[in-house]
Amino acid sequence: MNEKGIAQIIEDYLKDVGRVLPSGFETEDMLEELRIHIDEALQDRIQKKPLANKIDLLREVLNDLGEPKEIAEEFKRTGVLLQEQEEGEKRMSSLVVRFIINMVIVVAASWFVSNLPDAGISFYLALVVFLVFGLAEWSIRARQKREAGRIDA
């Protein structure tokens, strides 16, 4: 088996680990760390045993790392990912609620404006105008939040 085979075994292992962990930034981050760990551990072993079969050495490295489910159990125990996931879910539900409220306001405002005497604007045109304003405000706020986050960091 060649270098391609080694890369495939590593990919399969990382995929298995990724499968038993909730998807998210933390998991991606940890998979990258595991990949570097595997590369370094393998190079270390190859240097120490240059004549040994590389696949066997890789198996040793993966065995030392542990089964994907053992890593997942430790993550569950430390509660890091679960907490992240819960926070993510909360953020998502708050986003959905805010979106629905904003849409109700935009529709109501469009209806009100289009029904004003001598308004001269149709409901749909008012809706588009309010939506554009709403999106512009949303993106400005998001940018301000990102900048504030960078300053905090």
Partner: protein
């Protein structure tokens, strides 16, 4: 049939878990100046304890993430020997304080346990 772990096996697992977080802080504390990367921590843990803690190296990463969340460790990045950028862990001020406190607690526990034997 699944074998039920013996009492001493279960006890070892529980004890090891508690000690492992302390051991990670201790290792990072030994590398105050430049910090240490994940694989380095795993190597040092194996070498300094002669494998006594029987740690599966992959389980160190959830612990490192936890210690970061608790703001006991900080991370900086550097280029690894194999090429990609890797994380290097360093102790924060809080991490140093907690490590010292845990050391005192552990010393006292061992001292009292010794008196019990």
């Amino acid at each position: 049939m699944k074998k039920t772990p013996s009492f001493e096996d279960g006890w070892k697992v529980e004890t090891r878990r508690g000690i492992l977080q302390y051991a990670v802080l201790a290792i990072v504390s030994r590398h105050k100046e430049y910090g240490i990367h994940g694989y380095g921590i795993a190597r040092e843990l194996e070498e300094k304890t002669d494998g006594l803690l029987e740690v599966k190296e992959g389980t160190l990463y959830p612990i490192l993430h936890r210690l970061r969340k608790e703001r006991l460790l900080n991370v900086r990045t550097e280029k690894s020997d194999t090429g990609p950028i890797r994380k290097v862990y360093v102790l924060t001020g809080d991490g140093d304080r907690v490590y010292r406190e845990l050391t005192i607690i552990l010393d006292r526990i061992y001292e009292k346990l010794e008196a019990l034997r």
